[in-house]
Symmetry: C4
Subunit: 253 residues, 4 copies
């Protein structure tokens, strides 16, 4: 696997920073919450990441620019602490890619001074009448206790977590970085701004910041637009491939 | 392929140790027998192994903790000799992964001082009225003779062995480590505690230890529970993937 | 991934050279235009590239020679500037291969002194009555402006570009090499010499050379012949594989 | 990809040796001819090769031994020249594996002093009434001329060669080792001793040795037995996998 991480020059992150990971996943809760965090707290791009494990699409922007599908690291300076936010267009194509990229991200942020990681996900559930809970799964007892203080509920999430939201905390344990995956309960099939809000409330308590939530719906729409564009492109291309090249020539062009 | 093996500090294994490998396989005989050995002989965890070739699931435990699918090395100190036991949740996803992980395990235990390896498997057969035999396939004539003394039957197992229980002895030959795959006859479709018992009898004779077998059924149940949980999660996720993402977006989330 | 690039000895490329990439793609426009450039401007082979990511076919030539599917770098010396042209039989089999090969190509030509890259593609469209436009997507604002002067239209191409024609400019950004993918509008299903001509006009303006276009149809036919041969071989073999080996033995022979 | 080549100690190969490659392929001509060469000229095993790209089967022998699917290098000392013969159980599972293993083999034998490589294959044809021709495809003009003197026919073989019999000569060109793939005409569907004989005649002329062909049918039968065993095992296991594990658990055991 080939991964390129290009960091801007002269970036200084205070030691003891926290990484918040917002990748596409159930309900796109992580993506929305991460994006909102960056927008509201004034995050600045500090690094781009591209990987051979992402779909080989180069997106054309409105302005006629071209860019690969990517992950971007943002830098937010809170009073007490620096926060890195990782936003991604996609997750790697293969299990192996998800594992290796998780490792590389943990390694990269450790070197930048990060000593805590929170990943954001959604947790599919059918009972969603009352309160939306934020469920947690932690890679250490100590971090679990910290997250409980921020309102995360334990013991409710069952089963397993697929993708990098689960893999990053699981692998961070091997580098002794306390880490939790926080998951808002969600229906699963929709892009879910309410779940994102609940996750942001947990983060605001844990990191002692305040933001207003009035633009969340706009953030949701923007996320939907980006995701739809990417999905559409992937679909279009796959169909084109299927149609034109039924047989081996698929790998000629 | 990326593999991480995290060894606890200060571990001392006496030279001339033996590795016993208990991975999921036919009848889960290796997994049950390995687990029982660790429990009854007081094995201690000395190393964790995770691999990009395992399914990218992070299991949520009852206590709200998160962990990757993994292999664990245990350390058992018998009077005369140290025994390492390798227990695993899964085998790698691909042939390539099984080969490479087998190599890495042989390499890792060699450095720890291991000079003999026994892997445990099941051998599918229909005639199971009378005695359950333990069949063998060895990577050296000398080791075959040793295992015959411990009650292993040769010449009956035919064909080939898939997965790491066969690959480890085959590759250990390239490092000149004598190694045998011992296989209890089994029906194949069930989780088989009787087969595990027969394998344990061979090991107890070969390694000169005694254990009682009264808790084997409990060990079987625990193994079943773990395996069921893992299988269930893998199934659930695959179905979810299929349903939600029929087309390329499968790799978006 | 294994890639071999074999460069002829004693090649000297002037600094500030440009790479033009003509790989198989929509309408085979890049392949035709690149080939024509090489023929008309007197390009000389300076390097061969083979990759484990190409289909494992060894082509038999009419003279009884054998060669792997390959990419070839040609060297054209214009008065003011050196031009490298990359022509390829195929694109890599996998997304991962396309990404990694794009990286390796950018790296290779950088070392040769290249500081600008133009990749050629086709853009599928239904309205093709009037003028055929050459659309662009650039990895920098500055390069976009340069290409506009050469007649490239921006803002019309939408969506995304699959394969190396898009991936090379996207990754070249990480090495700060200005790069654009220029795409002639085309039907998509045919081998398109008209599109190739339009692209060549853009290149001739950008690089200040003049060529006559009278042999373009011959170039088209040659391209068609080569492509047909490769596609035919790939198809034949895949069918043979399917027929003869329905089950696992497929990987015996 | 992981490949292990274990060479016996103290092997001395005279410079200017030739490698003859007999891998499973069309009509198993290469495998039979290579084996017969080793048997009749008294070849000695000098190296074993195993690869993560071979199917992960460990074969159980009649004597209760276990071995991975492998390639074996034999050493034949003719008066004038040393001959290495490579015999293999299988070819790698993937295109990428075939490419990389071909590279590694070329590299390995170069270091041993080899400066010429002949690979053996079959060429499927329907007209087989009269003489069986041996067709050739060479990676250099000079080697083609040499092989013509030994009775190889050029200009008849068309299309392409799949697998390592074609890939090795194609890649040997990058190391400037003259190499030809010689192919006996064959029906394709049968294990073909007549084709093997024709290829051996070419080799005996090219390398100036004489052998009798009276045991060729026995060699054919042995090859058939081995191949059948391997195919059978691969099939059995794949069916077992399909039946037992319909869903994801396929990678649990």
């Amino acid at each position: 696997m080939a991964t390129i991480i290009k960091k801007k020059k002269g970036i200084k992150v205070r030691k003891g920073a926290i990484l918040v990971v917002g990748l596409p996943g159930l309900g796109f809760i992580g993506r929305i919450a991460g994006k909102y965090l960056v927008d509201k707290l004034g995050g600045k791009k500090i690094a781009h990441l591209v990987s051979s494990q992402f779909p080989p699409q180069a997106l054309i922007t409105k302005k006629g620019r071209i860019r690969a599908l990517q992950h971007v690291f943002y830098h937010v300076k809170l009073k007490k602490r620096d926060v890195l936010v990782l936003l991604g267009d996609v997750q790697p194509l293969t299990p192996e890619g998800q594992f290796e990229l998780s490792l590389e991200i943990v390694d990269f942020v450790m070197k930048l001074g990060v000593n805590e990681i929170i990943t954001i996900g959604g947790y599919a559930t059918n009972r969603l009448e009352g309160n939306i809970h934020v469920l947690g799964a932690s890679n250490s007892k100590k971090h679990k206790e910290l997250m409980m203080k921020a309102g995360v509920l334990y013991g409710e999430a069952k089963g397993s977590i697929v993708g990098m939201a689960g893999m990053i905390p699981a692998l961070a344990r091997f580098s002794r970085i306390p880490s939790t995956c926080i998951m808002a309960e969600t229906h699963g099939a929709i892009v879910d701004a309410s779940g994102a809000k609940r996750v942001l409330e947990v983060l605001s308590k844990h990191l002692s910041f305040t933001i207003d939530y009035s633009d969340l719906d706009k953030a949701k729409e923007e996320t939907e637009k980006l995701i739809n564009k990417i999905e559409e492109e992937l679909e279009k291309q796959q169909e084109a491939l299927k149609e034109k090249n039924k047989a081996p020539p698929s790998y000629i062009r």
